[in-house]
């Protein structure tokens, strides 16, 4: 009966602490800590009377932000820095924004207000589905379009235009590395929200980003939220172990000094991490580890239409066969092939890997020994998900 004890102490303490307004809770906290100096607090999470998870999520979506006025003033203050930032970009530096609070709005506002002369591409690093090759392709296409436009205006003959999709990452990078144009001021700005995000924190992606940053036609504006960012200097790129511990431990000196060429800017915004936080579970609702329909929908929406359709087949099967262990992989293949969603087993496998990576699908063997695919969501959640997808 921790609760009654807690109440008793609370009342007593409040009476004692008429003057010391809020000191109480901290003392309570300290006392708890000290009393069990060797033993940890035995309180269980389940002692908290957690409200229904659905309610919790809905409430979480509608929390009123405190200090909205101050925050918007803060953001307005940063506006005076915009022209300095542009100057720095034009001088060849990359901008790395850090400080507490979501910097997404700030950077995008900066980009649309002050970088109108340049094309701006935004990468949402907080999404687990970022594919850097696609980004590079888009960048290369943008650049070639830009160059074409320039050549036209300057009257020179345009070179035979190459198509990019067939080329490798290295080829695209060497195209971006340039110089394709005499004008030093010809570059595309790449905004990377959460450069320490889940899909970008592996060494290969960081290496690609670093190479991208060193291209003469590219400038990077990135945000970083993790406090351990500067640990980068301690570790070498080759030590793959570290990257699971600290996201940016993969920056080596070459990347920092030669490629990214960061200028650090401390810009706390205190804005809520609305988008960045979607993929984090709610700490009090951890009883249900399964992903919710909403996060699953977001992942799916970032995939190709074909992948979405494959998922829909699987979801449909699971809804119509609620008692089975799941859909046998072979069945899924033939069903998807019939509807021309996949052309080969290889494409299907690549979709399945994507699903598994984001925990949308689990495999198990059924009683016949067949490999079966199962969506770890309740039927209701799947229905909701399909609704979201079809919107």
């Amino acid at each position: 009966c921790h609760c009654s004890l807690l109440c008793a102490t609370t009342m007593e303490d409040i009476e004692n602490m008429e003057e010391d307004e809020c000191g109480f809770s901290r003392n309570y906290f300290l006392a708890k800590e000290l009393s069990g100096s060797s033993k940890r607090s035995a309180h269980k999470l389940s002692d908290i009377n957690v409200v229904d998870e659905q309610e919790l999520r809905e409430t979480a979506l509608n929390i009123e932000t405190k200090h909205t006025k101050e925050i918007s003033e803060l953001l307005n203050d940063y506006k005076t820095m915009y022209s300095k930032w542009v100057f720095e970009l034009r001088c060849g530096f990359g901008l790395l924004m850090y400080g507490f609070g979501s910097k997404k709005c700030l950077i995008e506002d900066f980009a649309s207000a002050s970088l109108t002369e340049y094309s701006v591409v935004v990468i949402n690093g907080y999404l687990p589905s970022v594919n850097l090759k696609q980004v590079l392709l888009a960048l290369a296409e943008l650049l070639s379009e830009m160059l074409k436009c320039r050549r036209k205006s300057s009257g020179s003959v345009s070179k035979g235009q190459e198509t990019f999709p067939t080329r490798s990452i290295d080829d695209i990078l060497s195209f971006l590395r340039g110089p394709q144009s005499e004008d030093k001021d010809c570059f595309i700005c790449v905004v990377v929200h959460n450069i320490d995000g889940p899909a970008l924190r592996d060494p290969e992606s960081q290496q690609t980003l670093a190479q991208l940053a060193s291209c003469s036609h590219i400038r990077i504006i990135a945000s970083i939220d993790h406090v351990n960012a500067p640990l980068q200097l301690l570790y070498r790129f080759f030590d793959l172990m570290r990257c699971f511990v600290d996201p940016l431990a993969v920056w080596d000196k070459k990347m920092v000094h030669k490629q990214f060429n960061w200028l650090w800017h401390h810009v706390p915004t205190f804005a809520p991490y609305k988008n960045e936080g979607v993929f984090f579970p709610l700490v009090l609702a951890q009883g249900s580890t399964a992903q919710t329909a909403k996060t699953a929908a977001i992942v799916l929406q970032s995939l190709t239409p074909n992948a979405q359709n494959v998922f829909k087949i699987l979801a449909g099967y699971q809804l119509s066969h609620p008692d089975e262990d799941g859909m046998p992989t072979d069945d899924l293949y033939s069903a998807s092939r019939e509807r021309f969603f996949v052309s080969s087993q290889v494409t299907l496998n690549s979709h399945l890997t994507e699903f598994k990576d984001h925990e949308l699908v689990k495999t198990k063997r059924n009683s016949d020994g067949q490999e079966c695919l199962n969506i770890p969501l309740s039927s209701d959640a799947i229905r909701q998900l399909l609704l979201d997808l079809n919107q």
Partner: protein, 1064 residues
């Protein structure tokens, strides 16, 4: 505070609302999207045609503007960062960058030419010997099968730099250089030698570079057939491997074997870059690959040398005009020496400094005129540069007001600017002259540069009329480089003096005031040289000259006095640091804080302070008044993080939530009313208690935000009710020691082993995890017959060492299954159990090996610095350091420490700040002695001394040993065992043992020293066991100890002479 609504926004609509716009929702969930494309209109607009005609300097910084004319902020900003500013920055920076590149190219050119000559010579000799006729190259199987024909000509290029990043450019230049000389060159980086792709991947990269870029097979015969095509065979084939140490050894050796097989067909030259050690190939390559290498060595200039060359070219020779203040220079120096150590980072700091200068100082664009070659001087109003606004700003500069220069002297501005512009600047001549003098003492320009920039340097003050050279040394700080130079000047030999004079003459050639003074010295120099020739000893250093050379002595003394007087004259008249000159702000970047925050950032510190002091950033009325209490109006995450501060590493979620809740819910209606009346602003106050669901949701969100910031880690499966605070590291310390040390806890091993055996087996067992620096068995001492302690600690160094070690938990060591647990340095829970053993351990001495100092430094200097460095860990009983050969120190020193947790402290200690010692670290702690015991031969002494020479220990905790061990590693092969009496040897070298006041020390150790027949058996030289009384007496021992050590050093020499004699 903020300009808010009154801001005149730039054309594309950007209002405050845009921060909260909802229509981007779709973009938020797309992995990437194009925000907008470059507006073509502005593309045309910013074409550079119109830029040059517009030459106007804006007078006010954005900051000033913000205060005075709010509505024109944006306007001013646009003008401030005008295209002209960018253009000037680019001119200035490209000038600096080009200068640096040229300097680096020059410093390498000699080595590059050497490499090319070597390739040519070897290639010609191959061709002329006929070993490689065209016919043979075509033949499918090599005829020659002798081993010699399979040798690969290899050049080892020693970069003397651990950081690859500095040498990227070097290898690129080498590539270009050799290509321009007609060689076929391919460059491989360590990335190409991955175990994953194997030697095939490596060959593929080679063939792509030599034959054609689209090739996708890995067949070395293609190389041979390519080589005999199209006259390719007239030139050698060169393969550069830039970072040998980081290559995968097996892949590299495979490649060497393959290449050497075809060496008879294709003359391949391998260039391997190694960072510091010539024996690097021996470390990573197996013997069969090593045999194929026929190596020649080349050495590049060290980073410190290159750094000095860059400094000289950028700041002291006419370059861009841009310069930095004392504080900025000091920051750059410290960062280079203590933290990063790469030239690349230095260049980057310089670029950031330059950028910041242009964005902070309106007048910086005047640098354009400094940058231009030729006589295009600043002519004042002529070209409209000096507008009224500019003048106003110029005369508001602190350096101007400080010197009481007012507008009335307005017409003098051009004159001042001309002075600033004057090249060669007398200041830089003086600095370079001092540098020349400092070269005899191996002083670095970097240090001299930093010291001479200091506007408040002491040497500027000690040129009072009464001051003499002697008392200067008193006045200046203990670490003053200039003092050192002045002192060293008196030890110079005549030839050194004359070369010094010559270099001064050259340096001052364009500045007659100094040049005249230098020329006046010539007659004196001549008479010194004449005197020297008479004595026939022109080159012997002054201090070693025999007494009979009194004439020379006298002349030399007069000469050095004159030289000192000239230096003094130079310092007095021309040593005006740039910061003391009016208008220097135009050229000189001073804001070190801005530089540091832009260069390094400080996410952990800043994000933590964002949260703990959120009101400082938000400037809200409601929370600013809170003092130390937490208010519900504060940002939720701030509240939660402040609560977490009062908690240990593991935070119980339930408790955390409860305390969070108590803060959010107003206590009682009564208290609520009371507080309401107190508060000035109620807007932030919750009108009523929030619902349970809301509190929980807010709690969840705050936890999530802390998680995003990396301040806490989520509950693990093992501990579902708590979150873990992330390991907080003192960053200043960590940055200093670039290599992480971890402490782990081990139990379950065989406790009947001896300490020695346990340490050895632990070292083997954990060798795969990292460097095993220290195995600490609490309470153990040599000769102890008790069972070992139940647990031991292992100190590992290396990235990921701890994780790897933890995986060994449950593995078998012999028949015993060991348990490995983490016991980080901040953990204390085992300490009570340790306490009693530690007490005894703390009273023992601990010996550790130390590496990482510059072996070219003077012995005494390193020794003193090591004592200084380690004294914060405990009592430094002694430092043993030897010379390997003349002026070269052994790479390992031995430090003996005693004191509370001395070993742990020493292990965690970062590098030393002193030059040449920045990488100092403990590389190992002496293991306990094997069973061998060397009994003391002192009659009646109760103490027993154990040990090989490098692990001397005394069994008595209250005593320590001084003396000096040495051992023969290379000597003694095939030599007869000879024995010498130590006393006799001491007598021969003239060491008077009897009259030495030993202050109660007793002599132990063997009297007879044997020169061993083979290798590594150590020899014990005279040692004294010191029975320690009280701590105060210890300092007394240092005197005799050092005398004994110097005797031991002479003894060592004496023995070596004997050894040498016996061989002949």
């Amino acid at each position: 505070m903020a300009p808010s609504g009154t801001v005149a926004d730039p054309p594309p609509s950007s209002t405050t609302d845009s921060f909260n716009s909802g229509d981007t929702a779709e973009n938020d969930i797309r992995p990437f999207f194009v925000l907008h494309k470059a507006s073509s209109g502005s593309l045309q607009g910013k074409s550079t045609g119109t830029v040059k005609s517009k030459r106007r300097i804006e007078s006010t910084t954005p900051k000033i503007a913000k205060k005075t004319e709010l509505e024109t902020v944006e306007e001013e900003d646009v003008h401030f960062y005008s295209p002209l500013r960018l253009e000037v920055f680019e001119t200035v920076w490209s000038k600096i960058e080009k200068t640096i590149e040229d300097v680096l190219r020059d410093s390498n050119s000699k080595v590059f030419n050497g490499i090319h000559d070597w390739i040519r010579q070897s290639f010609d000799s191959i061709r002329s010997s006929g070993a490689l006729s065209l016919a043979e190259a075509v033949r499918s199987y090599p005829v020659l099968t002798q081993a010699s024909s399979k040798q690969l000509f290899t050049a080892l290029v020693l970069t003397r730099n651990l950081e690859m990043v500095d040498d990227l450019l070097t290898y690129e230049e080498l590539d270009l250089h050799l290509k321009s000389q007609g060689c076929h060159v391919a460059k491989l980086s360590s990335m190409d030698f991955s175990a994953k792709n194997g030697v095939g991947g490596c060959l593929r990269v080679l063939l792509r570079q030599f034959v054609m870029p689209t090739i996708d097979v890995a067949d070395v015969t293609i190389l041979a057939s390519w080589y005999r095509e199209n006259g390719n065979h007239k030139n050698p084939v060169v393969i550069i491997v830039d970072d040998t140490e980081r290559c995968c050894g097996t892949v590299l050796s495979d490649l060497i074997l393959i290449l050497s097989e075809c060496a008879v067909k294709v003359p391949i030259f391998l260039i391997m870059g190694v960072s510091t050690a010539h024996d690097a190939p021996r470390k990573i390559l197996p013997a069969n690959a090593l045999q194929r290498l026929c190596a020649t060595r080349f050495t590049l200039s060290s980073p410190a040398e290159r750094m000095d060359a860059i400094l000289e070219a950028v700041f002291l020779k006419p370059c861009s005009g841009f310069t930095v203040s004392h504080k900025v220079a000091l920051f750059m120096r410290n960062y280079f020496l203590c933290q990063d150590g790469t030239l690349t980072s230095f260049v980057r700091t310089l670029k950031i400094a330059c950028l910041q200068h242009f964005s902070l100082e309106p007048l910086s664009i005047m640098l354009e005129h400094f940058c231009q070659d030729g006589d295009n001087q600043l002519s004042g109003e002529g070209d409209g540069l000096l507008t009224e606004a500019t003048m106003k700003h110029a005369f508001d500069l602190p350096s101007v007001t400080r010197n009481k220069i007012t507008r009335s002297t307005c017409e003098m501005l051009p004159q001042f600017l001309l002075d600033l512009q004057r090249m060669p600047h007398p200041w830089s001549i003086v600095v370079l002259c001092i540098y020349e003098a400092g070269k005899f003492d191996k002083l670095r320009l970097l240090d001299i540069f930093c010291e001479t920039l200091d506007p408040e340097a002491r040497y500027l003050k000690y040129f009072l009329p009464s001051a003499t050279v002697n008392c200067q040394s008193h006045v200046s700080g203990p670490k003053s480089v200039i003092r050192r130079i002045l002192r060293k000047l008196r030890d110079l030999s005549p030839s050194q003096l004359s070369s010094l004079l010559k270099s001064w003459e050259n340096l001052s050639a364009e500045f007659s005031e100094i040049n005249d003074k230098v020329m006046e010295l010539h007659p004196f120099m001549k008479s010194v040289e004449a005197a020297g020739q008479r004595q026939g000893l022109p080159n012997s250093p002054k201090k070693h000259a025999s007494r009979s050379n009194s004439k020379l002595e006298k002349e030399l003394k007069a000469m050095t006095d004159k030289v000192a007087a000239v230096i003094e004259f130079m310092l007095r008249e021309y040593m005006k640091p740039v910061e003391s000159v009016p208008f220097h702000e135009i050229l000189c970047f001073k804001n070190v804080d801005k530089l540091q925050s832009a260069f390094l950032g400080d996410p952990r510190g800043r994000i933590q302070s964002d949260l703990l002091e959120s009101h400082n950033i938000l400037h809200c009325m409601c929370c600013s008044q809170r003092g130390t209490t937490l208010l519900p109006s504060m940002h939720d995450t701030s509240i939660l993080y402040t609560l977490a501060q009062e908690h240990a590493d593991v935070i119980n979620l339930h408790d955390w939530y409860q305390s969070f809740k108590t803060i959010l819910i107003p206590r009682s209606s009564k208290a609520n009313q009371k507080s309401k009346t107190k508060k000035r602003k109620d807007r932030c106050e919750e009108p009523e208690a929030p619902s349970e669901a809301l509190i929980q949701a807010r709690f969840c969100r705050a936890v999530m935000e802390l998680q995003i910031s990396g301040l806490i880690r989520m509950p693990s499966k093992r501990r579902p009710d708590s979150v873990q605070r992330t390991f907080e590291i003192a960053f200043a310390d960590i940055r200093k020691s670039s290599r992480m040390l971890s402490r782990i806890y081990v139990k379950g091993y065989d406790r009947t082993l001896t300490g020695y055996d346990l340490v050895i087996s632990m070292r083997e067992h954990f060798a795969s995890c990292g460097e095993v620096i220290h195995v600490y068995i609490p309470g153990y001492f040599e000769g102890s017959t008790r069972n070992l302690n139940r647990f031991a600690f292992i100190f590992l160094r290396g990235e990921g060492a701890e994780e790897k070690a933890l995986k060994l938990s449950g593995s078998h060591m012999g028949e015993h299954k060991i348990v490995v647990e983490s016991y980080p340095f901040h953990a204390k829970h085992l300490d009570p159990e340790l306490a009693h053993m530690r007490e005894a351990d703390n009273r023992r001495q601990h010996k550790m090996s130390v590496t990482g100092y510059d072996t070219s430094l003077p012995l005494d200097y390193v020794k003193t610095e090591l004592i200084q460095h380690f004294c914060i860990c405990g009592h430094v009983l002694k430092v043993m350091l030897f010379e390997e050969s003349k002026d070269v120190l052994c790479s390992t020193a031995f430090v003996t420490l005693r004191g509370e947790d001395a070993v742990e402290k020493a292990l965690q200690l970062g590098g030393c700040d002193e030059e040449g010692l920045k990488n100092v670290e403990v590389s190992g702690v002496a293991a306990p002695e094997k069973n061998k015991k060397i009994e003391s031969d002192v009659e009646g002494s109760k103490s027993v001394v154990f040990g090989d020479a490098d692990t001397w220990q005394s069994s008595e905790p209250d005593s320590f040993i001084c003396g000096m061990p040495f051992w023969f590693n290379e000597l003694g092969k095939g030599k007869k065992k000879k024995e010498y009496s130590v006393d006799k040897a001491l007598e021969e070298i003239g060491f008077d043992l009897k009259n030495l006041d030993l202050k109660g020390m007793k002599r132990v150790g063997s009297n007879v020293v044997s020169v061993p027949v083979k290798g590594s058996t150590p020899i014990l030289l005279p040692a004294w066991l010191v029975e320690r009384g009280d701590d105060e007496k210890e300092d007394d021992y240092m005197g005799p100890c050092s005398e004994i050590e110097s005797a031991a050093r002479s003894l060592r020499k004496w023995f070596f002479e004997r050894v040498d004699n016996t061989t002949e």
